[in-house]
Amino acid sequence: MALEPGTLISPAHAAAVRDPAWRGRVAWMLLAALLLWPLLVLTEFRPWQLLQPRSLRVTAHFLAGFVPPASNRDFLALVARETWRTVAIATAGVSLALLLAAPLALLATAALSVSSLAGRMAVLPFAVRQAARALMVALRTVPELVWALLFVRVVGLGPTAGVLAIGLTYGGMLGKVFAEILESCDAHPTRTLLANGSGRLQAFAYGLLPQAAPELTSYAIYRWECAIRSSVVLGFVGAGGLGQQMDSSLKMLAGSEVATMLLVFIALVGLADAVSAWLRRSLR
């Protein structure tokens, strides 16, 4: 017999008591199995295919190339050049993003609103602020790979597409977070300045910026580090840099080259992480 929590059982009946949670557990397990089946079918998940002789041969041959990683001088020079290009794409992209994000964030922050000094914000400024916010959301939502695909078609293969893609997406991200940081600052000095008649940029520079500067810089540095990873990914669709080189080596199944580039990539990301952490720490 099933049991409700809290019922008294006499020792005689104890042997016949069933766990009341059992029914629920069985139901959940059935539901899980029911959901799992279509997942496996839709993803064509057949891991035993990895062990088929043909696939195994290709994989083994590819992996065998990993040791030793390619280290001839020409190739290393190429990798070094491409690594610099990756960093350059990321830096240029984040610079563009900052150019885009700064005005958008300023537009979107309610702390600089003159009309709300007297009470509620007027309709037009409110609409402008919401529009700025919506634009940042739109820029953020489209994946940067999609932008890169589009731009590659327009301006051709090469770093331009990558820089633009990073600039737009990260512009949206930076804008949103900058606006949030500005909102979270103490608005009193700014409002006082505005109330006394200063221009908005002045009020920002003297009221909000001193408080927000460390956080703004810290987030920008963090995003730069993310951009390095992004630019490698974008390289796979033709935006240049280490990613594009890795893509072509993969297509040629050149295991040793891929191994070198993977190592370089991991080292690069680790280095960027360390530099970024050091910079952000020294800001405090």
Binding site: P5, G6, I9, P11, A14, A15, V17, D19, A21
Partner: protein
Amino acid sequence: MVGPSGAGKTTLLHVAACALRANSGRVLVDGQDPWAMSSWRRQQLRGHLFLAPQSPPLPPRQRVITAVLAGRLPAMSLASSVRSLLYPIDIAGAHAALNSFDMADHLFDRVDRLSGGERQRVGLARALLAPARLWLVDEPLSSLDPVRAAHSLKTLREQAAARGITLVVSLHQVEMALANFPRVIGLRDGAISFDAPSSQVSPEQLRGLYAHEPAQLDMGDELAEQPDPEAPVPMHWR
């Protein structure tokens, strides 16, 4: 064991349970030094010891039945432990253990829905399922009201006597210690102050134990026997 706070009662219990390694001196369990053994054999030895810490070590979202059955883990294989998680292996055994402490009606409740005193009793009920020959219980009555405290202590003693288990309890309630246990050890500042049959412990020795914290000396004479259930229960003066 009796003694003021900080005397070392908990530490001594932990050392006896082979949970803590002493900085100096030697511990012998069944004539063997547990710290000279391999860690596997030591873990086997620990299976024969049961330590009930002062605050009940029960995961909040776990149900009482699983928490109590966990006492039997040293004797269960891994396969049956996993099976027991899906469906409890020994509901009757858990029910009987909880019944001894008056907690049988909370068999399938969640631990975080219980009060502190109820959790403490569940922690004690674990002992009844453990395959242990030595019970080390740290302040089992701290969250219990006087009626339940006396009842729980009586249950512990009866079960230990019936199974031939050595029971070591640390208590603040000195009168209960003297009334219920044949041998009392007084601890103070990390050293044994006295170790005597309870009939030979003098009030001076007790006062000496609590010399600097007389407020902690709990001479609750009125609680020596179980009070009449109809009469109003006297409140603890401390």
